[in-house]
């Protein structure tokens, strides 16, 4: 069987540095063949890669759910790319600056053919360190884009003071403590840090806090959050203290505004009952899917030797079997929700009730 082609979704507010990043991908000699789907067709000098221009066409599904939307143009474009004779190493989808990342992500979970041939690898969000606080004030999209991210490029770090940079990073962490953050200038980043990361980033939910089974809820996430080793980093602007983060990343934070995005982590100390989980999670996504932007988890399932890897965008879920558990390894289940108006206690209690008897 041929491997599904990894898809990277590239989002970011206008002017954040998306185009600069795309140009890097297209011009760097990486020896890979990528197809890049952009919003507008421009004549770009490309040797090896394929550039496809499309108009974002957001289609509602007829199931009556207003958040079940897909990108019709992507379904067609990917169908066309799959006919080509040359094997692709990856597909990169650029969204417009004001775009809600949900329809593009949902496309990879809902369309049968797209699902069969490709796999959503990561949502990469480029954030302008200088203007992000302003964007948060005047648009919901900027916040959503960070909420959806698996990887955040905190860009234009040279344009802000160390203190402001630390503040922006804290704000990103409040919205989405699970994204991997890379600080960049002019979108300069090694491509292997943003492309073809998928399974790795989902497994990371568990790895994020190796102690979570004993230490419910606290996220010692800072040393995963940077792309450098904090032990050797002497930049005083980087926040390497454990304690500091606890105030911000608690499971039930007090958002500044009633509709701020925050996250909830729910853990079960052991395997879950698959049927109980299925019933519970579909009920949660059905009733609260509009407020849950993303949910993802790595679960131990009773009777299964592999990790169960779950992710959803709003109401639309997808799951696969991941790495097998090692002999003697402690099996735990963790699920995270990123969204608005989440009832942290109810989510945690609901997940706990899925624990295998």
């Amino acid at each position: 069987m041929s491997q599904p082609i990894p898809v990277t979704v590239l989002t970011g507010y206008l002017g954040a540095g998306k185009t600069t990043l795309l140009n890097r991908i297209l011009t760097e000699s990486h020896g890979k063949k990528y197809a890049v789907i952009i919003n507008e067709f421009g004549e770009v000098g490309i040797d090896n890669d394929i550039v496809v221009g499309t108009d974002e066409e957001i289609f509602e599904m007829n199931n009556g759910c207003i958040c079940c939307t897909v990108r019709g143009d992507l379904i067609r474009t990917i169908g066309g790319l799959m006919k080509r004779a040359d094997a692709l190493d990856g597909i990169i989808v650029e969204t417009t600056g004001l775009a809600d990342p949900a329809p593009v992500a949902q496309t990879f979970f809902t369309d049968d053919e797209v699902k069969a041939k490709t796999q959503l690898d990561a949502v990469v969000t480029v954030v302008d360190a200088k203007h992000f606080p302003l964007r948060l004030e005047d648009s919901r999209e900027a916040e959503d884009q960070v909420a959806f991210a698996d990887v955040v490029l905190l860009n234009k770090t040279d344009l802000v003071s160390p203190a402001d940079l630390a503040a922006v990073e804290r704000r990103i962490r409040e919205i989405n403590p699970y994204a991997r953050i890379h600080r960049t200038q002019k979108s300069a980043i090694e491509l292997d840090k943003i492309l073809d990361k998928g399974a790795f980033d989902l497994q990371r939910i568990l790895a994020l806090d190796p102690h979570f089974l004993h230490d419910h809820g606290h996220h010692h996430d800072h040393d995963d959050g940077h792309d450098h080793d904090p032990a050797t980093c002497d930049d005083p602007t980087h926040d390497h203290s454990h304690d500091h983060h606890h105030h911000h990343h608690h499971d039930a934070p007090n958002p500044k505004h009633a509709d701020d995005v925050f996250s909830v982590a729910a853990v079960v100390d052991g395997p879950v009952d698959p049927e109980k989980f299925r019933v519970w999670i579909s009920g949660i996504l059905q009733s609260q899917g509009q407020n849950i932007l993303r949910s993802k988890g790595v679960l131990a399932v009773e009777g299964a030797e592999q990790r169960f890897v779950f992710q959803a965008v709003h109401m639309i879920a997808d799951s696969t079997w991941g790495q097998p558990w090692r002999a003697g390894e402690k099996r735990g289940s963790k699920l995270v929700f990123i969204g608005r108006k989440l009832d942290a206690e109810a989510l945690k209690a609901g997940f706990e009730a899925c624990k295998a008897a």
Partner: protein, 341 residues
Amino acid sequence: MSEAKLPARREFAFGAYVSGAAFTADGETAGFALGSGAIKLVTVADSSVREIAAHKGASLSFAAHPDGNSFLSGGDDGRLVRVARDGETSEVAKFQGKWLDVLATHKSGGFACAFGKEIRYWAPGATEPKTLGPHPSSVAALDFSPDGSRLAAAHYGGASIWQIRNPASAPRKLDWKGSHIVVRYAPNGKFLATTTQDNAIHVWRLANGQDMQMAGYRTKVKALAWTADARYLLSDAADCFVCWDFSGKGPEGQPPVEYGFGDGRAMTAAIAHPDSPFVCGGFENGALRLGDMDSKRDLELRPGADDRKPIRAMAWSPDGWRIAAGAEDGYATVFDLKAKS
């Protein structure tokens, strides 16, 4: 149909995704369009193959040219190319930066392609196209009415029917929510069928605009074929022939005719015989089945296998005696239903 002997067949390994198949008017040449951008011309009599490099990327749309002696191919290089049976190739048009994945032809000589929200229509004998549109969203499929007077376009929110002799007039709008991806006129011109992203078929009775919805598919329907008598509408996407009966009061409230359950794999391509009540389906495991709508019996032309790839393109020759089929992995075949192997 005798089940004792299978029709004679020729098989080819073309090495790239077979995205289209068609016959010349006399059925003597089969054309296969490939994801490599090549067109393979197969002379059925001696199985000789000629390869034409038509596109830089992939051929995304392919049809018999109305002149009867050539084919039209649209590519992701923006080129619409005419390839004659002798291999002579000419560029009909080039639309820089566009993907030509939608194409329709009519025996009267007209043909049309679409990219983005617009259609380009060539009247019989015309060298320059007329523009129809823009539509509210990208055009996903086109089909000419049987008499060639109208052109139907499927798009988000329904279908638009253009009177092509009067392109300035507003199209008739057939509205139904959702993204419509296939469109097919019934051979009697009385119905227009589309398929939608939500795994359903939608059909309009054109006389009064009444519409009906046919659902129950587990995946989206990507191929529709009407039998020549316009009685049955065959769809792919199920693991058998699913045929909606439009005789009498029509399919509303009636289950479809279902037969030819094979090995539980989904149909990925479907065609109907040009004059008789026969249908043919290609499956995701490479199987090919011929169906008889009168007896509701089927004949396996090619068995499926787990290591075989989905059939993606099929065509019936205009005289009804030959079938061409091609798969994702470059497998292609031409059956001669007259000759027994």
